[in-house]
């Protein structure tokens, strides 16, 4: 750094090291994750055992899949409040088709994927068509789906849950793909951890290496500018809403096959955890900046803390306190970055 410093503009040279650090959106969350990991490793015995690791990884995995999808959407400048309840909706569609209409589980999964994509596309289309904030549009979808979940479930089963997946056709193969477990070191690891890692890797590759990724950053950072240079803004954003819905389908499928039943009120309130994990991972609330790896690490912090508090035998209330502090810290760091990058120098 010092070697080249004298050859460039002195103003650039002075700000460079800090800029370098701040362009990595996931850096803050990585440091946070390391701190949490070290803390609970020292404080509790269980945390580092194979069983402990599998517990907090399991807790992080489904949250992480959603956090990564929500992070993509947030980089694209939108929110999806219906993401949480969507994990229940897709699970219910799969379970009702498989248990009540005796569909093969694979066909039921396919149908619920189509359902998810349609709702996602509807979200995106409404947001782009009306120009309303996605916050309010998806709040509407959220409430509508919540009502639909309860209403239809009660109508079909007479209770607030759908169960009996185990006896359906195709359960064994679908269960193997979405909900099998692997024994490592005496502990059982859920296959959802692999889905989480795979999804994060694909999302990162998409965001940083492909044209679509470039467009996602652009539509979130400055939609008008993106449109002026020929980026299909509407198509990109609708695709992002559909991706979020598809991720909710994946999580819904994992849950329904693992627990073999779905509660109609499942997933409610989770949407905020997804957003919080994405923000802790470095996503700006205003869009145009963020990282899939960061969101995955944000989810990991969630899982480690939630289970670490249990291992330590503390009251669970401390988790919310921790969450609040973590979120505020992340927002402050992100905000500092945005001011830095968007600052106008003349």
């Amino acid at each position: 750094m010092a070697v080249v410093a004298h050859t460039v503009d002195e103003r650039l040279a002075r700000t460079r090291p800090l800029d370098r650090l701040l362009v990595r959106p996931e850096l803050g969350s990585l440091l946070g994750a390391l701190a949490v990991f070290a803390f609970f490793s020292v404080v509790t015995d269980q945390f580092l055992s194979a069983g402990g690791v599998s517990t907090w990884l399991d807790d992080s995995a489904t949250l992480g899949i959603m956090a990564v999808a929500v992070a993509l959407l947030m980089v694209g400048g939108e929110f999806d409040l219906s993401a949480g309840v969507m994990t229940a909706s897709t699970g219910l569609v799969t379970a009702i088709l498989a248990t009540q209409l005796n569909w093969n589980v694979w066909w039921a999964l396919l149908a619920s994927l189509v359902f998810a994509l349609v709702v996602g596309a509807l979200n995106g289309w409404l947001v782009m068509r009306t120009g309303l904030p996605s916050f309010i549009v998806t709040l509407g979808t959220f409430l509508a789906l919540q009502g639909l979940n309860l209403g239809v479930t009660k109508l079909v089963t007479g209770t607030v849950q759908v169960s009996g997946m185990r006896s359906t056709e195709g359960y064994a193969s679908a269960g193997f793909v979405f909900a099998s477990t692997v024994n490592v070191g005496g502990a059982t690891f859920q296959v959802s951890v692999l889905w989480w890692l795979g999804f994060t890797a694909v999302a990162t590759w998409l965001l940083l290496r492909t044209r679509l990724g470039n467009w996602i950053f652009a539509v979130g950072g400055a939609a008008t500018s993106a449109r002026q240079v020929g980026v299909p803004v509407v198509r990109t954003k609708v695709l992002l809403f559909m991706t979020t819905a598809a991720a909710a389908w994946l999580v819904g499928g994992i849950n329904v096959l693992r627990y073999t039943s779905v509660q109609a009120n499942q997933g409610i309130g989770q949407e905020f955890f997804y957003i919080i994990a994405a923000v802790i991972g470095g996503c700006l609330l205003t869009g145009g900046f963020g990282s899939a790896v960061g969101a995955a690490v944000g989810a990991l912090i969630f899982g480690m803390t939630r289970q670490g508090i249990v291992f330590a035998g503390w009251n669970n209330d401390w988790f919310m306190l921790f969450l609040g502090v973590m979120l505020l810290a992340a927002v402050l760091v992100n905000n500092a970055f945005r001011r830095r990058a968007e600052r106008v120098r003349r």
């Binding site: 362009v23 044209r211 950053f217 500018s225 002026q228 240079v229 145009g288 990058a341 120098r345 003349r346």
Partner: protein, 286 residues
């Protein structure tokens, strides 16, 4: 003389009952800068929107390389080699310089859905394109938002030049800039001109227009006050016409009077010794 790159003949545009522009004629030649000057509301924006294809004109003729056209979208203008750099520059501040440079036209390697942006090439081309314009950015990975206003303007210009523009339309590129930065941008305008592009420079500052311009189109209230070749007009005359000529003199007169009028009616000022340069009109009025 060869065919001009762009030519408008008595072009006009109405928005409902409002005549935004009428009877404006000018030409843009390769390797020359045509400046469009005018105050706010003079019709500068309407004219460039016609040239850029954002508004179709509804009177007169618009010729691109001698061929009459009726452009219906900026894309169509772009396909004919007419690139416009609007005031907001169409850059995304949080994205890196090279990502901005290629946004919407990313070079790719690989096949189908697995194709990726050719990042090495994109970075190299960006660095080279900027260097050709005389901008030496050491790091094309830095966000555009960290560049100065002038540098951002230059990135937008370099991008237009790189993507095959024959005509470059610049909307008030120096408006928000300091003196030094404005000078830097004007140098790039000259650079683009020397590379054989036809440049349309919109500005309300004759001091920016005169040094680089070859031709000056003066607009006022949607009408042309005339289109002058550089050899036919001096900076002083250009400034005078732009400011409204006779009107400015009247304004000067008015302002001088206004300074004088309150004086007799203000008791506190009576005690103050009269300024030595008091205008002669004063005694007569009080």
């Amino acid at each position: 003389m060869s065919t001009p790159l762009l030519e408008v003949r008595e072009v006009g545009k109405r928005f409902g009952g409002v005549i935004a522009l009428s009877d404006v004629s000018t030409t843009v030649n390769a390797g020359e800068v045509t400046c469009v000057l005018g105050d706010n509301g003079a019709g500068k924006s309407t004219l460039i929107k016609i040239l850029a294809g954002a508004h179709p004109h509804d009177a007169g003729e618009y010729l691109v390389e001698g061929e009459p056209v009726q452009l219906s979208s900026p894309r169509e203008a772009l396909d004919r080699g007419i690139a416009t750099v609007f005031q907001d520059l169409a850059v995304v501040p949080l994205m890196s310089v090279w990502r901005n440079f290629f946004l919407g036209s990313e070079p790719r390697v690989g096949w189908g859905p697995l194709s990726m942006i050719d990042r090495g090439r994109a970075r190299e081309v960006t660095r080279k394109a900027l260097a050709d314009m005389g901008i030496d950015l050491r790091d094309v990975e830095q966000p555009v938002g960290t560049l100065s206003g002038g540098e951002r303007q230059c990135v937008a210009i370099a991008r237009a030049v790189h993507f095959g523009a024959k005509v470059l339309i610049l909307d008030e590129p120096t408006a928000a800039l300091g003196v030094k930065q404005a000078g830097v941008v004007l140098r790039y305008v000259a650079q683009a001109r020397d590379r054989g592009l036809g440049v349309v420079l919109i500005t309300h500052n004759p001091h920016h227009a005169y040094p680089v311009g070859d031709r000056f189109l003066l607009l006022k209230r949607g009408r042309s006050l005339g289109c002058h070749e550089k050899r036919d007009i001096t900076l002083a005359e250009l400034t005078r016409q732009m400011a409204g000529g006779a009107e400015l003199e009247a304004l000067e007169h008015e302002l001088r009077q206004e300074r004088v009028v309150p004086r007799p009616s203000s008791p506190t000022l009576e005690t103050v010794p009269a300024a030595p340069a008091a205008p002669p009109a004063r005694p007569g009025r009080s």
